[in-house]
């Protein structure tokens, strides 16, 4: 399932891929927009023009080297800690659900939730100012009381797909959860 018309809540195009490894195991990957060359260029030029203007006023070359270092460090920090390339959900029947986000620098941040802790996977809606946002979330059981929900874990926080995509993912998850 790789639909071209899928967008996130802000209107940017996202890519969704669903793989079926076996009838017990599905993997859904939602990839956000890549880092655009235009924004990098705009940012770099902006910072360097400002630095050059400061250099013209103060005649101190340290300003220029500071600007270069700042641009490089800022870019590295952004692609390592903030820019999410794709998020994936691997659901394995009777074992659990694995969530992973991978950043633009290649860093992967994974977490695994066992099936015994999962109560259900649902689509919730949140009202934020003037918009209603749908999000997919996992309901985690309370260890003391099996019928109560102790916490809600939202999925796809960085890519934020819209309802159409969420429904597909929801159906996939429910197929697997129904079996176990």
């Amino acid at each position: 399932m790789a639909d071209d018309s899928l967008t996130d809540i802000y209107g940017n195009r996202i890519g969704v891929a669903c793989r079926c490894h076996s009838d017990l195991c599905r993997e859904v990957t939602v990839s956000g927009p890549k880092l655009s060359l235009r924004s990098v260029l705009v940012y770099t030029c902006g910072v360097w023009l400002l630095a050059y203007a400061a250099f013209c006023c103060t005649e101190n070359t340290a300003v220029l080297s500071c600007a270069i270092i700042l641009t490089l460090v800022g870019l590295m920090v952004y692609i390592h800690f903030f820019k999410v390339d794709h998020e994936s959900l691997l659901i394995i029947g009777s074992l659990g659900v694995q969530l992973s986000s991978s950043y633009a620098s290649g860093r992967e941040c994974t977490s695994f939730i066992e099936m015994s802790k999962i109560k259900d996977v649902v689509i919730n809606e949140a009202v934020y100012m003037h918009r209603v946002i749908y999000y997919l979330c996992i309901l985690i059981k309370d260890p003391a009381d099996p019928h109560a929900v102790s916490s809600v874990l939202p999925l796809f926080q960085s890519s934020k797909p819209r309802l159409k995509c969420l429904i597909e993912v929801y159906k996939t998850c429910q197929e697997i959860l129904a079996q176990s």
């Binding site: 394995i92 009777s94 994974t110 695994f112 802790k117």
Partner: protein, 565 residues
């Protein structure tokens, strides 16, 4: 129910034989721990398993058979199938490796779905899941499947002692079957550490006996030693050393990590202290330091005297009450004079004192920093005294003013009910009260200014001492060993697991690779930080400001000790 089989990676190339492991019945899973090779005698296998079962509390059984097809062993499959009648079982697994394809197939008795999870046995055995649940194996609480797997592999230590070069009747394949790994240096250190620990324990008991003799426990001495941060640090380090030098081996993970962290931080402390000594005692730096100390004290005294003379004049254009100003100013100037005479009296001995005190840095950098903090406290004792005088005077004035203000309005503070009540005063009471109120009110600016100046000075000193204490606390409590383990051997501190799908084919069950997900660096600090007396502000900012306004004496840093007082 889906059957989950946890299969060690080292056994995927093993020869045909029996699968030995443990069932986890609640979660319908099986953990394979080793493969016993053909030829074997079933009676001996059963005897060996009972022996291991008695040594650990793992319920080891024969799970099934493993077949790796080879040339000249065509009859193996039927032989292995017949084995299921010899060993008692509730379920029997039959795993076989198919050459030419990457995955493994499995032939099962019932039509059930199977997931095969491959794991790295050595890493899972050494790893520890966080949050650590000690002693949970003794309770019958429901454990999560992953915890049960980790626990089973970790507990099956004795099973991994037979390697393939042993002459015994059984041949096993597991992660250590190529031969046990050990390092000579580690073994020697372990053997040598026992007498060293005994000696250290004896010395520490002598030291604590010395510390507890009656003469040193007299209240004044105890009060002073609780205020001096060097004594506090000394007591604290003694406690640490007692933890490290106990000859009892650490059985639980947290205890082991605490011992290791304390040991490593102690070593680092000593190393930094020795570096400091090497730097300090070269080129006669101590002498230079001593010779600059007295001029610095003189300079500070001169600055203070100039400040007081400025206050005695018209500071910042404010007009002060002449008489009170002169009294307070002369009082403080006399104090400074006393202090400087004392410093000058001590000046011939300063170099010697500094030389011997500097040697205490060999006990560690934390000691050197504590000594520095104490020296700063002693040298700025006059500032502390001025602050106390100024604060007390101001505080009295504020209380007097508030009480007389109530009298002015015809009210009174009811001590019994802790509230303000109205009260009818006599004429002469009102008259004297109003007079005193006016006097105090007009003297307020002078006292307030002195109080402000000395409080600011005191806060500067307290800030400096606070920074030193923060550094000492950091050196004491930072878990270096745990951090090093997280960086170099991340699989040992596990937050959870990660799964990766290995190649999938039609007809074969699902194969997953289980890898260890290490804990975050911030979580290392949270779990393994050595509890210390952390210096944190006793009051919030609002409470501090209120205390300053009213004139109460502030002791901004609260020292929380680990023992309950």
């Amino acid at each position: 129910m889906v059957l989950k089989i946890f299969f060690p990676q080292c056994c995927t190339t093993a020869d045909s034989g029996l699968l030995v492991g443990c069932w986890i019945p609640d979660q319908d899973s099986a953990v394979v721990l080793a493969v016993v090779h053909y030829p074997f005698i079933p009676g001996q296998v059963k005897r060996y398993l009972t022996e291991i079962r008695s040594q650990t509390d793992v319920d080891l059984t024969v799970l099934g058979s493993w077949s790796m097809p080879k040339e000249g062993q065509e009859g193996m499959d039927s032989f292995l199938k017949d084995l299921s009648t010899i060993f008692p079982h509730s379920r029997w697994l039959q795993l076989s490796r198919e050459i030419g394809k990457r995955g493994e197939g499995s032939v099962r008795d019932e039509n059930e779905k199977v997931i095969i999870v491959h794991y790295d046995q050595r890493k899972v055995m050494l790893s520890q899941l966080h949050p650590v649940q000690e002693g949970v194996s003794h309770s019958k609480m429901e454990q999560s499947a992953l915890r049960a797997v980790f626990h089973t592999v970790a507990q099956s230590h004795p099973l991994f002692f037979i390697d393939k070069y042993d002459d015994g009747p059984l041949k096993l394949t597991h992660w250590q079957s190529e031969g046990r790994e050990a390092s000579i240096i580690a073994e020697l250190v372990k053997q040598g550490s026992v007498p060293v620990c005994k000696l250290l324990t004896w010395m520490l008991s002598l030291w604590s006996w010395l510390g507890s003799i009656r003469l040193l426990n007299v209240p004044p001495v105890r009060f002073i030693s609780s205020k001096l941060s060097t004594c506090v640090q000394l007591g604290y380090r003694t406690e640490h050393l007692q933890t490290v030098s106990s000859t009892r081996k650490a059985t639980e993970h947290m205890e082991f990590m605490r011992k290791a962290n304390i040991f490593v931080s102690f070593l680092l402390d000593m190393a930094l202290g020795l570096l400091l000594i090497a730097w300090l005692y070269r080129e006669n730096r101590i002498g230079k330091l001593a010779s600059t100390l007295v001029p610095v004290a003189d300079h500070v005294a001169k600055e203070l005297r100039e400040l007081l003379e400025w206050l005695m004049g018209a500071p910042a254009g404010l007009k002060m009450n002449r008489a009170l100003d002169q009294v307070l100013g002369r009082f403080f100037i006399y104090h400074i004079h006393l202090w400087i005479s004392y410093i000058h009296l001590m000046s011939p001995f300063i170099e010697m004192i500094l030389w011997y005190v500097g040697l205490s840095a060999c006990l560690g950098l934390t000691f050197a920093l504590s000594v520095l903090s104490d020296m700063v406290a002693l040298l700025t004792f006059h500032i502390y005294c001025f602050y106390v005088y100024g604060a007390r005077l101001y505080c009295l004035k504020i209380y007097g003013l508030s009480s007389l203000w109530r009298l002015f309005r015809g009210k009174k503070w009811n001590v019994l009910r802790q509230r303000v009540d109205s009260c009818s005063y006599d004429m002469d009471q009102l008259f004297i009260g109003t007079l005193l109120f006016t006097i105090l009110l007009f003297l307020l600016p002078t006292t307030a200014l002195y109080y402000l100046v000395f409080t600011l000075l005191r806060l500067v000193v307290v800030l400096f001492q606070g920074l030193i204490h923060l550094a000492v606390d950091l050196l004491n409590s930072f878990p270096l060993f745990a951090m090093g383990l997280r960086v170099c051997r991340p699989y040992r501190l596990a937050e959870g697991v990660k799964f990766r799908v290995l190649c999938e084919e039609e007809g074969t069950p699902l194969h997953l690779m289980m890898e260890i997900n290490p804990i975050k660096v911030s979580a290392v600090l949270q779990y393994y930080r050595t509890p210390t007396y952390s210096c944190y502000p006793r009051d919030s900012w609002m409470a501090l400001c209120k205390k300053l306004f009213v004139g109460e004496l502030i002791y901004p840093w609260k020292h929380k000790t680990t023992k309950t007082d």
